[in-house]
């Protein structure tokens, strides 16, 4: 079975929101659009987004760390939002594990949003249907695109490559190796939703230097005798 997913490296994310704008641009004009806005140039602008970047401050000054946290649908392997849908508009694709909403079947009852512990679904205030990240299904499942472009818009936009995309069920994929080797974790594991998306934790890069590496034990100068000390004026001091 295939389960496509994102792996987001919190150690690399700089919180530039490029994934947010790229996602909005691609999806508002594509298959899953429009992602409507309300008062976009006014006070209190609001609208539908598939992807948000939040910022958290961890610790107490001066020992603080700023963590930028991109937040989009996790495409759970046990999605709690799917079985509660009364119409079957919400479904999980068999072939690649992406959780999608059929806008033509959705009645806008919002029950699926209640059933998502992460708050990843948003009701479109104009179209009155539930919207959520599609993992850019119209890119990743589009065979007419060159292979390198069959990735979600957010992944292609990320300037620091903080977002990896691939099949988390394939043990040899880039994402599986990143999860395995760099401590990838899931959000709210306590609910058994088995999110497919993983996050890579912040990692401290420390260089370990030993004393003998700073001062070379085999320094050839050390083996010579002390340099001769000054013993009065030499010929160089007096001649001009």
């Amino acid at each position: 079975m295939t389960q496509m997913a994102l792996v987001i490296d919190l150690n690399v994310c700089v919180g530039c929101h490029a994934c947010v704008t790229s996602c909005k641009e691609w999806n508002t004009s594509g298959w899953a659009g429009p992602l409507t806005d309300h008062r976009p140039y006014d006070k209190d602008p609001t609208g539908t987004f598939f992807n948000r970047v939040q910022t958290f401050e961890v610790g107490e000054f001066p020992r603080t760390e700023t963590v930028h946290f991109p937040k989009s649908c996790l495409h759970c392997e046990e999605p709690p939002c799917v079985p509660v849908c009364p119409t079957g508009a919400s479904y999980k694709r068999e072939d690649n594990g992406v959780v999608l909403v059929d806008y033509d079947k959705c009645i806008g009852c919002k029950y699926c949003s209640w059933a998502c512990p992460y708050g990843m679904r948003e009701l479109d205030e104009y179209q009155k249907v539930m919207k959520k990240c599609t993992l850019c299904i119209d890119r990743i499942a589009n065979d007419t695109l060159p292979e390198a472009e069959r990735k979600p818009a957010c992944v292609l936009a990320c300037p620091t490559s903080a977002r990896l995309f691939g099949d988390v069920h394939d043990p040899d994929s880039e994402v599986s190796m990143a999860i395995r080797e760099q401590g990838g974790y899931q959000l709210m594991p306590e609910w058994g939703t088995k999110p497919a998306n993983h996050y890579l934790p912040r990692r401290k890069t420390r260089i370990q230097i030993f004393e003998d590496e700073l001062e070379r034990a085999d320094n050839p100068l050390k083996k010579e005798a002390p340099l001769p000390a000054a013993e009065g004026e030499t010929l160089d001091d007096v001649s001009f």
Binding site: T55, K71, V84, C106, C109
Partner: protein, 326 residues
């Protein structure tokens, strides 16, 4: 959670409709066992069923206001295998059908016994429909409550007490309405229905008190630490990713001040559990038809406040991601 008035009206109105129908069937069963005087088919049972149906229809109408696309509501019966909402949408019209048929059978006087059990209990069409309808009414209480109780991470709702509360509140308000209806139409069943209404109100008081206490002491499983996966005791949100709010901040936060919540809490305790019982008690001596009617109206208003509080009480774990705007 944000309390939507459409859902408050839906759950309280159909609760009353179901309870009233159960009260009518209870009355019929009691009179069958010669514990009560048999009542007039048309004036009592047919009119009572019509009243119950009115509440059910009003609840159904209210539910349409909750939907973004009410014209597609017919689709919602599709996933009855997995969704409690879908099951509710199937059982509600079924109950309405039974209530309508029950009323019609009484209205047209089709109550000649079809057969008798052991020569004592004469079973007619209305009794069969009544029992089937009663089963549907209990099934509907179960489905409605399970919509809330089945979401395991809204821990305030995820409890058998939610099922018990929905059922008992529906029964108490339904029997209260039956008492009011009896008093209004001059039927001598005010005492019978009033007693049951008080018993159900008392039972609902006990179970609601248990759930209030449970929710007060609840320790949520999810924390900001599990939500973003960072192990540190001190995490502060600096940005939500937007400035003007989103669906997440509108749907999952009630936005009411602590004072309003306390006021509604006090009001529903008084209006659901105390005032109706006092009003019904007073009607024993004053015998005024207005007192049971007032008791029902007061309890219904109280139940709307209770349902509002039920939503306000619930803390959705997604709120952890929307703690401060900074």
């Amino acid at each position: 959670m944000h309390p939507a008035f459409s859902v408050i009206f839906l759950t309280t109105l159909i609760g009353v409709g179901q309870g009233l129908f159960l009260a009518l069937v209870t009355g019929q069963v009691y009179s069958l066992a010669n514990l009560l005087q048999p009542q007039d088919s048309i004036r009592f049972y047919a009119m009572g069923s019509a009243l119950s149906l009115m509440f059910l229809v009003a609840g159904l109408l209210a539910s349409f206001f909750h939907l973004g696309h009410p014209e597609r509501a017919w689709r919602s019966a599709a996933k009855w295998r997995t969704s409690w909402l879908s099951r509710e949408i199937i059982v509600l019209p079924l109950l309405m059908l039974f209530v309508a048929l029950y009323g019609l059978v009484h209205y047209f006087g089709l109550t000649t016994p079809l057969f008798t059990i052991q020569g004592v209990i004469s079973v007619d069409g209305s009794l069969i429909l009544g029992v089937l309808g009663a089963l549907a009414a209990f099934a509907l209480y179960f489905c409605t409550a399970m919509i809330y109780a089945s979401i395991k991470f809204i821990e305030e709702w995820h409890s058998p007490l939610t099922l018990i509360n929905f059922t008992l509140f529906g029964l108490s308000s339904g029997f209260m309405l039956a008492a009011a209806f009896s008093a209004w139409s001059g039927v001598d069943l005010v005492g019978f229905y009033g007693t049951w209404a008080v018993i159900f109100t008392f039972a609902a008081g006990v179970s609601r008190w248990l759930s209030l206490r449970r929710n007060h002491n609840l320790v949520h499983k999810s924390t900001l630490q599990t939500a973003i996966g960072i192990r540190h005791n001190q995490i502060e949100q600096k940005s939500q990713g937007f400035m003007g709010g989103s669906f997440n901040t509108r749907e999952f936060f009630h936005g009411a001040s602590a004072g309003t919540v306390r006021l509604v809490y006090g009001f529903f305790l008084l209006a659901v559990f105390v005032l109706p019982v006092l009003l019904l008690g007073a009607s024993y001596w004053l015998a005024s038809p207005y007192l049971p009617v007032t008791a029902f109206v007061v309890q219904y208003l109280g139940l709307m406040a209770e349902r509002w509080y039920f939503f306000v009480e619930a803390q959705h774990p997604q709120n952890l991601y929307y703690q401060s705007m900074a």
